[in-house]
Symmetry: C2
Subunit: 115 residues, 2 copies
């Protein structure tokens, strides 16, 4: 029975890989990364976001300067057509994956929620 | 294509529900919860664990008394045959789910890791 579980998981991996949402994300990701200036802008944006998230999580103080710097980097990527398309595609796939997880985890949710 | 993705996710949900690992977990969970003293002991253990985790995450100080109290509750559930079986079953299913997630997320891991 456990074998079947892994077989079905591999089917889902294949379906995700072949889904339009993933293919579109992959296409945009490759396009952004193929162009050096786009790639650098996107990497820089990611680094700034990650740094802020880490500071928030550890409760470290975030300066006004850092907030303004982050806002500027958001504006910059939003004005970049490919990067903003890539971010929208990431958002869409992230919602799909949230839905998939909700479906798969239903048996556990039912069990723990029934108490 | 997106329809197919959700269909396959429902297949995986069904396979998880019908797996021996899940059925065994459900059986033990129901047995522990059907007996009031076992249920209370398990709930109490969970509450203590959760409380300690929250304090660790928020960086709140954990007293020596709390540590000893938590250690005693661990010893108590470890000596309880059904509860310790339940906890082992939870651990096993948790590893299965980690494996499933690794399989499903492979396309994204490959994409983001390839840079």
């Amino acid at each position: 029975m456990s074998d079947n579980l892994y077989d079905v998981a591999y089917n889902l991996e294949k379906a995700l890989r072949e889904s339009n949402d993933f293919k579109e994300l992959k296409r945009l990701y490759d396009e952004v990364n193929a162009d050096e200036s786009s790639r650098k802008m996107f990497d820089n944006f990611r680094d700034i976001q990650l740094n802020l998230q880490q500071k928030q999580m550890t409760g470290e103080e975030i300066t006004q300067e850092e907030i303004e710097h982050a806002q500027k980097s958001v504006q910059l990527v939003q004005q970049h057509e490919k990067i903003s398309q890539l971010m929208a595609a990431e958002q869409r796939l992230s919602m799909v994956i949230t839905d998939l997880n909700k479906i798969i985890m239903k048996p556990l949710e039912e069990m723990y929620g029934a108490q």
